[in-house]
Amino acid sequence: MATQRDIKKRIQSVKSTQKITRTMEMVSTSKMKKMQNRLSRSMPYNNKLNKIIENLRQTGVEDVFDPLLQERPNPSRILVLLVAGNRGLCGGYNTNVIDKALEIKNQLTIEEGKEVLLYVIGKKANSYLKFVGETMYKYSDNMEDDFTFSDAADLGNELINLFVTGEVDEVYISYTHIISKATQAAKTERLLPLKPETGNIEETAEEFNVEYIFEPNPYKIFSSLLPLYVKMKIYLSILESAFSEQFARRVAMKNATDAATEMIRDLTVSYNRVRQAKITTEITEIVGGAAALE
């Protein structure tokens, strides 16, 4: 049986752990809010970009030959961009997204006999893949708070280059998608060749009746919009992942803090019990001793 002092030590250590988890929870909450702000600041741009692309599609530029839109027959080399975090202590966040990426990789390699390259972002994914012996095409750290649009643009240019030069035939992105503020899920999407989202045509039919003047011409504009669309998609995916990471960490740390509170309560109960038992034994001893003297 644990002694009084042992239990006291235990309580102390749980308390200090609780302090750490509580602080981490608060840090994650504030980082999460920051990410959310960044996401909402980018939304108007993204919406507008999609709208212009839709408007352009209505003018019939869709049939245009643009390398980024060309489906390749029998794609053989496929690149998967995996967006994970640098740090752990965030529940299933990293494992979920890594599993999702590996799932698609296995599906493509084993079932369809294709060559899959993994482009990995995030220390956690790197160490896990090394551990299971997966080869990586390229690895870079997650830039976390320092991540800007120009970084996404660089990454986008790199991927577009690989695709256009025929180095790879398809590009997928595996990231954590925000479904609602409270639910996120790992998701894999095809990035290249592009398939811009088609909105509800009836709903916006009125707008399409507007005859635009295009400078220089719709095709040229369409072709220069597409890379921007890809970059924006990458930028948003990484921001969404960063938000989800902080969210997952917050939940994990909240659970840890609650568990610590529970544990301290249990330990305090057993501490008091041991203390009481000790007092009882002492009294019995004294009473016994006094009785023996009489």
């Binding site: 741009y45 507008k48 212009i52 352009l56 635009y212 003047i213 400078e215 220089p216 921007l228």
Partner: protein, 132 residues
């Protein structure tokens, strides 16, 4: 009714400007392009240069590098890939960067030379906006 355009300047990470303007000039891919009230619907590609937004006697200046402009129903939307306000640009710093680039030795390969020239062009365009 006021003859004004609703103008917004957006970059991927923020909204730089929102407001009503009398007259807007943007640097399109082939030169400057001006917009007044009741402009026909238009979408154009942007080049590297300045944006001037005039409201009354007041004018706002921005530096823009690439992107698009859309005008429709007197809503003018500038989607820039990279944009800065005039206040964010520091002329002295830009000048020193320019002198640094021009005084450096010319690189060997033509690719590098083109890169430097492009960089120089962008810096000069920034400087022009900064010294307004």
């Amino acid at each position: 009714m006021a003859m004004k355009l609703n103008c917004s300047v957006l970059t991927p990470d923020r909204l730089i400007y929102e407001g009503q303007v009398d007259f807007a000039v943007v640097e399109a891919f082939d030169g400057e392009m001006g917009f007044l009230f009741n402009h026909a619907p238009l979408i154009s590609e942007l080049g590297t240069g300045e944006i001037r937004l005039r409201t009354g006697d007041k004018a706002d200046y921005f530096f823009v590098d690439g992107g698009f402009v859309e005008v429709k129903n007197n809503d003018l939307i500038i989607l820039a890939e990279n944009a800065q306000k005039r206040d964010e640009l520091q002329a002295a710093q830009l000048e020193s960067q320019i002198t640094q680039l021009t005084s450096a030795e010319r690189p060997e390969t033509w690719e590098d030379r083109i890169k430097i020239d492009l960089e120089l062009k962008k810096l000069k365009a920034r400087l022009k906006v900064a010294s307004k």
